[in-house]
Every structure is written in C-alpha cells, then in structure tokens.
C-alpha cells in the first residue's frame, strides 16, 4: 500500500486555513481559489480539487463563508465565496493554531538545542 506523503496529509488538514487565507481580502470562485493557493505557494502545492469543494461547502455551512451566484468579469456566472465576520474569527484562530503547530514541528525537526 502506498503511503500518503506528508504534503498530502498536511494539505488535507490545512485546506480550510488555506481557503480562508486566500479569501481574506477578496472574493473568488472555486477554481480561482485553487489557483490562488497554488500561486501563493509558488507552485509548491495546491489543495486537492476533490477536497477543495467539500471544504468550501463545509465552511459555508459553518457560516465562515458566504456564497453568491453572480456574473464573472471574464466569463459565465460563478459561485463566488467571500469571508464572513465569523470566517474572519475562524481564520485568526486557525492562523494562531498553525503558527504554534509550525513552531513546534520546526523545533522538533531541528532536534534538541543546547541550553
């Protein structure tokens, strides 16, 4: 059995954080969100498209996102997502949690330091 990579496992858990982050200051539709994440990561990663939409819909059900169908500047009607106030609070929580987690992982990976 093929073992999933660390990146895959991390992406699965951090998809909500990444989605909320790219929607912090703008409204985007689903495919744009995936592209924006890919761009911000410098092409290093993007969430699985199969997990992106369930995450978007779950965040919407939670009240963190609001979705509206409307005309796109460059094409057909799209379902745009934007951050709600509750989503802003959730983003702040996720960011703090991620920062703490990332620091811990970094320290652990770096190994013990001399006092």
């Amino acid at each position: 059995m093929r073992r999933p990579s660390i990146r895959t496992q991390l992406l699965k858990g951090t998809t909500p954080l990444l989605v909320l982050t790219v929607l912090r200051d703008t409204e985007l539709y689903g495919y744009e969100i995936a592209q924006r994440i890919r761009e911000r990561s410098g092409g290093a990663f993007a969430p699985s498209e199969g997990s992106l939409y369930p995450a978007l819909h779950a965040l919407e059900a939670e009240g963190a996102l609001q979705a509206d169908w409307r005309e796109s500047d460059r094409g057909p009607k799209r379902r745009y997502y934007r951050l709600t106030d509750k989503g802003g609070d959730l983003l702040a929580e996720h960011e703090a949690e991620w920062a703490s987690f990332a620091r811990g992982v970094a320290r652990t990976v770096a190994g013990p330091t001399d006092a």
Partner: protein, 456 residues
C-alpha cells in the same frame, strides 16, 4: 447559501461551452450520489460544471488535447462517489439540522394557525351549504330521516358535534402545518425530502395521537372521537404527500357561486322559523311546555314556583372519567341572590341531591327540540348528594357507567331534587333555557382515553 435566482441561473449563461460526454457522465454520477435536496444538487452540479470548464481550459492551455484534458480534469477531482459523499457530509451539519427542526416547527405553527382559520372557514361554508341544501331542497327527506333515525339526530346535536367540527378544522390545520414544516425543514437542514417527510410524519403522528387521546378533554361521542383521531392521520398525510392542490377558479364563477349561495341562504333562513327570528320560547307554546313538564314530573313533582320561576334556575355540568361533576346553583341577580326567595325556599329542603337521567330528544315544536328523561327508564342513572353552603352548590361526584358508542347514554339531564317540608321529594329545577337559562344537559366530557375506558 444564497440560492441562485433566475437571472443568475448558471445553466442559462450564454458563455457556457458544452461539456465533454465523460464530464457529463461524471456530473451525473456525482448528482446521483448527493443525498441532498434537489435545489442543492442543482447548485453543486452547476458549480462543478464551471469548475470543469476552467480546469479543462487550463489543462488544454498546457498542450493537452481536449479528450485527455477532460480525463485529466476528472482525475484531479477524484471519484464522483467519494466527492458526493464528502459534499453531502459537508452540508449536513448539526447546526443545520437543529435550525431545520426549529424553522420547521415555527413555520408549521404558522401553518397551523392559518390552516385552522381555513379549516373553520371550510367547515362553516360546508355547514351553510348543507343547511341550504337540506333546508331548501332536501328538507322533507331529511326530516323523514331524522324522524326515522333519532339516534342520528342525537349524534348531530350538542357539544360533541362542536368537538367534531373543530376536529375537522384541525385536520385541515394539521395537513397544512405538516406540509409547511416539511418544506422548511428540508430547505434548511439539507436533508432529503424523503427523510424529512418520514421524520415529520412519524414524530407528528405520534405527538398528535398522544395529545388527541390523552390530553384534550372535550365533549365526546363516537363521532367526535373518530374526528379527533383523524387529526394525526391528516398530519401524517400532509407530511408524506408531495401533492400540492392548486385551486384556480375564475373570479366570475366564484362571485356567481357566492351570489347563489347567498340567495339560497336567505331563502333557507326565511323558510325555517327557527332561523327567521328569535327562537320561539317554549313557554310561549303552552301545549309543548305542558307536555315537557309532564315528562319532567316523572322525575319528581315540581315545587311551587317562586315568583313564577323554579327554585333553581341555572346550572351546567360535565361528565368525565366516569364521574359526575355537576355544579349547579350559580345564582343570578335579583330574586335569585343568596338572600332572595330562591335561597329561602331552598332552605326548607333536606336531602338535596343531583339526579342524572338518561336524556332523549323531545320535539317541543316543529323546529325546536328539547331534552326529556328517557321514558324507558324509571330511575335516575346516578345520584349524588348536593353540597349546598347557603350560597351555591359544590361539585358533586357519582360513579356512573358509560356505554361506549351508545349515542343515547352520552346525554343526560341533571335535576336537583330535595325532600320538602311535607316529607315528599320535589324537583327544584327545570332544565329549560327559557326559565333562567342553563338547561342541564350534560355530555360526556373528557379525553378520548377516558371516553374509551369509562365504565370498563
């Protein structure tokens, strides 16, 4: 989620390009796997179609051919079954379930209020309509039926009939409430209509059955019991059926029908003496009055009137749970005050008691029917000592039997009798509405359960 309105329906976009056949197949499998209401499935399908257009275009721009680009785009989304499952779970939050339940109950309550008003209106129109028909067109046949089937006449009279009428209106209310509750719950909770319908039908049926059988005391007879039991069924049918009656009558026909109904109503009212003015006073028909009093004398002779009225004038009572709970002696003003002649006359009596006699209808005049003790019985159905405290009577209690389903034994007349100064028992009240109001006709009053178990 804000639903797309007609102007924002993605399927109507002129910029859409047709999707490859394999993508259509993928979307079909995705839609089939979504266990969500139809409007949500439509939204998801539209959103995923948009995604495919973007994804395929991007992949094609990287140099792949259209067919391979479509397959690659499908591969990136993964299994449609798994995606459908993930999306379904994403929508089915506990919060939405609770909100759906709360919203459904709220709208069901609104629907029940509106439905009750509608039901009362329907029942009223039906009654007026039947009155018009039977009063003008079919009156001789119905009178024949009434004369032939006194039990039917008794079943249609009195408070149990009012219970039945309200139950019919409640059936309309329950049906509409269930429909509104299901619709709102489905929309908010994101559960499928079939699931919500079953849940509402089972929960509502059980709840209303318990309420109808155990918690609603009302005047009962067989007709009212069956009518009340129909309410849970009406709720369940409203929850389970998706049929929406659409009534679209031309306004002209409605107005014409209303005019005809009004004309017939006026005609009916003019032809029925009881409806064309104040009800004739039995006291104004001496022969009928005398005949009724003779029937009352079988109970006991009347004590001499005080000021032209019986000693006791008012009262009312109920039967329930196999117990007579009769409160008689609500004295009105004037000569019937506690220090008036009625009270002074009552002070002469001993062993004052209530007597419940089986009642049958008595045709006092062609349009007025009163109640008299059933000639088939020479003794009261039950008696109970009266607790008179110089002001009024307290409740009296007496165990009684009750024949379920028997129309005749659901109606009683309650008399008050007492032993006078000469040692004889006298009747102290006359259950005639025109002699002070408050004819002492009693119907069984209680819950359906009490009705079913009474006397067992």
């Amino acid at each position: 989620m804000r639903e797309p309105d007609a102007s924002c329906d993605p399927s109507s976009s002129p910029d859409e390009t047709p999707l490859p056949a394999e993508v259509d197949t993928y979307l079909g499998r995705l839609g089939a796997g979504l266990d969500l209401p139809a409007h949500v499935r439509v939204e998801i399908a539209a959103e995923m179609a948009d995604h495919f257009r973007d994804s395929i275009a991007a992949i094609e721009s990287e140099g792949l051919e259209a067919d391979r680009a479509a397959r690659e785009a499908i591969a990136r989304l993964g299994s449609p079954t798994e995606l459908a499952g993930e999306l379904t779970r994403a929508h089915r939050t506990a919060g939405r379930l609770l909100a759906g339940a709360a919203g459904g109950v709220f709208h069901a309550t609104l629907g029940a209020v509106g439905g009750l008003l509608l039901g009362i209106a329907i029942v009223a129109v039906a009654l007026c309509g039947s009155a018009v028909v039977t009063g003008t067109l079919l009156r001789p046949p119905t009178e024949f039926v009434y004369a032939s089937l006194p039990a039917l006449r008794a079943a249609m009279a009195g408070l149990p009939m009012l219970t039945a009428l309200l139950a019919w209106a409640a059936c309309v209310a329950a049906f509409i409430a269930a429909r509104r509750g299901v619709a709102v719950s489905t929309r908010i909770s994101r559960r499928t209509p079939a699931t919500v319908r079953r849940l509402w039908a089972i929960t509502g049926f059980a709840t209303l059955l318990v309420v109808a059988v155990f918690l609603v005391p009302a005047p009962q007879n067989l007709l009212s019991v069956l009518s009340l039991l129909a309410v849970p069924f009406a709720f369940a049918s409203g929850a389970l059926t998706s049929f929406t009656p659409r009534i679209s009558l031309p306004r002209g026909k409605v107005v014409a029908a209303g005019c005809i109904l009004a004309i017939l109503s006026v005609s009916f009212a003019r032809n029925v003496p009881a409806w064309s003015g104040p009800p004739p006073d039995i006291a104004d028909t001496p022969q009928a009055h005398a005949a009724q009093l003779r029937e009352f004398d079988r109970v006991a002779p009347a004590w001499a009137y005080v000021g032209g009225r019986p000693v006791l004038a008012e009262g009312g009572g109920q039967w329930g749970s196999g117990v007579i709970q009769q409160a008689v002696g609500t004295w009105d003003s004037g000569p019937w005050s506690t220090d008036g002649p009625g009270a002074r006359a009552l002070a002469q009596f001993k062993d004052i008691r209530f007597e419940a006699w089986r009642a049958v209808r008595f045709d006092a005049s062609p349009d007025i029917a009163e109640w008299i003790p059933d000639p088939a019985y020479s003794a009261p159905y039950a008696t109970a000592p009266a607790d008179f405290n110089t002001v009024q009577f307290g409740p009296a209690h007496a165990e009684v039997e009750f024949d379920v389903g028997s129309v005749r034994t659901t109606e009683w007349i309650v008399f008050v009798t007492g032993t006078g100064p000469d040692g004889r028992r006298y009747r102290l009240n006359e259950p005639e509405y025109n002699l002070g109001g408050g004819a002492l006709i009693s119907s069984f009053t209680g819950t359906i359960w009490q009705w079913l178990t009474a006397g067992t």
